[in-house]
Symmetry: C2
Subunit: 355 residues, 2 copies
């Protein structure tokens, strides 16, 4: 089976960790005779923007459309405003390809110490399902009385029944498929008095089809506190676009670091390619030094394997990561060691080859 991958390494440490990802793909091919990854690399990044005035070509989405999956590194550079690098590349891909599920495991890997005093690998192991196409990221709003003392800016959060139902259904279905016992729901219906009561109502409606999965609503402020105080309470968490964004960076911190956490931007119907990316950014401060942590990129490949139904291979990759972390003697600086990106990745690749 051929899997056709569009690779977008991006900026900063993006290309550095992506290169290690390629080695993993190659190792997987060696391990599993029937599998082969075709890949095409695209230089869609801030450098391109500074030269050509655009993050991706006009027909960029058209080009990506026919791939089986997109592997993403990280995008962003100090010279390019975020709203360009983000709104002209990553967000259009998420939306155009109806990648309405942003799936983010919050899992403390063996070998990693949580910053939380009393928590171990058994306590931190859940998944956040983040809405990925609408809500607070709706690109809708405006400004009036500009440049006067009465200047007023409005940012609209737009929640549709369509968009909300599909993410909530996905979350219940995911919990059911994975044999989980409950669904935790982020809300803020005590303050966001239009959007969040609507969100809650849809959760209640959909829950009727999943009587075996009790759900629990948490206000986002309390939920953030609980990620620190009792992460062991969570199995699957569903959240709106913004709340999911905040919770997953927080969750990554709790699970031992931003350099590790992966994500899948999933189009569940398979109508369009899904996209897999580290949740970390391009980290200009350490770019070029060869010391970026490649784990998030490699774990993202494991999520991609999961997505295509190669559950065992996905496990092989995750186990390889964990066994190298547990050995613990050649880690990157963010994990307290002084190995290079390549040194850490090579160990993982070797483990994968062992199967």
């Amino acid at each position: 089976k051929y899997i056709n991958i569009a690779s977008i390494p991006g900026d900063g440490i993006g290309p550095e960790v992506m290169n290690e990802g390629y080695k993993v793909l190659k190792a997987l091919e060696e391990l599993h005779g029937g599998l082969s990854f075709e890949r095409n690399e695209f230089d869609w990044n801030c450098k391109r923007y500074l030269e050509a005035g655009e993050m991706m070509p006009e027909d960029g989405l058209e080009i990506l459309k026919d791939y089986d999956a997109i592997l993403f590194g990280a995008v962003g550079a100090p010279e390019v405003p975020d709203h360009i690098s983000v709104w002209e590349l990553i967000l259009p891909i998420r939306r155009a390809f109806q990648q309405y599920v942003n799936l983010r495991p919050i899992k403390l890997l063996k070998g990693i110490e949580s910053p939380l005093r009393y928590k171990s690998v058994e306590d931190i192991d859940f998944t956040v399902i983040r809405e990925n196409t609408e809500g607070e990221y709706s690109n809708s709003g405006g400004k009036l009385h500009e440049n006067t003392p009465h200047e007023t800016v409005i940012q609209n959060s737009v929640f549709t029944r369509y968009g909300t139902e599909r993410i909530v259904k996905y979350a219940f279905e995911y919990a059911k498929q994975k044999g989980k016992n409950k669904l935790s729901v982020a809300t803020k219906s005590n303050a966001m008095n239009y959007s969040m009561p609507f969100w809650d109502d849809i959760v209640r409606e959909i829950s009727k089809d999943y009587p075996s999965i009790p759900f629990h609503l948490y206000h986002i402020d309390a939920l953030a506190a609980f990620f620190v105080l009792k992460p062991e309470e969570f199995e699957v968490v569903v959240a709106s676009n913004l709340f999911g964004d905040i919770l997953t960076d927080l969750g990554a911190a709790v699970a031992g670091g931003i350099g590790i956490a992966p994500s899948g931007n999933i189009n569940p119907e398979g109508t369009y390619p899904s996209m897999f990316e580290p949740i970390h950014g391009s980290a200009p401060d350490i770019a070029g030094k060869g010391i970026a942590n490649p784990v998030a990129q490699i774990w993202s490949i494991s999520l991609m394997l999961d997505h295509f139904g190669y559950f065992e291979l996905a496990e092989v990759v995750l186990n390889a990561i964990e066994s190298v972390l547990m050995k613990g003697d050649n880690l990157t600086p963010d994990l307290g060691g002084n190995a290079s990106t390549t040194e850490l990745a090579d160990q993982i690749v070797n483990k994968i080859l062992e199967g």
Copy 2:
């Protein structure tokens, strides 16, 4: 000097912790001959709502207006939807009285263990300045195509130049007055593309008047992670209404618990009364058992003393809390002990009387 206090104990554990607050007020009078607190208690709570159909009387705000300060317990009951208990009592007070600063210390007290493995009292000691009257809590929005598959709900975040300038100015001024070296600013201008770039611009403008206070913008997702990973980086943090809400519950967790954290809803001009309240809720699950932690309520009184310029007395109260926590043998269950609310508070009161 007479300080005229309107007390709103509220529901659940609210009245339980408020009673201990009263003892503290009395102790302060004994300690400081010239100071006396007049107080009037108002039964504005969910019980009243269930009986009379309203959280407060129609002229409630009119009544409160002439007090020097409001002391608030906690409001909320399972039988009353949040949007009633919140939008018909606490939020109208914050807005009508232009309490545009929600001041929330995030401080690990001596005697309290942080859930963060490597962090001690030196590492967790900063203040969040939260905008408290507009932004994401603007009560503005609507719904269309109701009860059809095309149902769409819009929630507007409204940021005015007026509202944004005054909170940002307050934050810079606060940092300067307190001799702090920098201001950290919560943003999300890479995704909330109307409101947050505007917020950032105003920060940049106002910063010109404070050349000695460098500021640093953090996206809210990264900021939440940093609260866990490097709280020692922060001195003063300014945030919008929603971001401040999330950050302060998270901060309270990091600083050892929701039962401890206080807040001041401040009207800096003194045109209207300011309001002091624990950040915890009414906690119906433990209400009536006499085991609620009274520290947040008592610390809120310390913030009130600060507000009226009684800096030394404010210190006395905070020191009393810390010395009892450090002794550590009669704590409430949330702090690992089995003392009652009163037993913990009485020790603090005794310490205060020692001066």
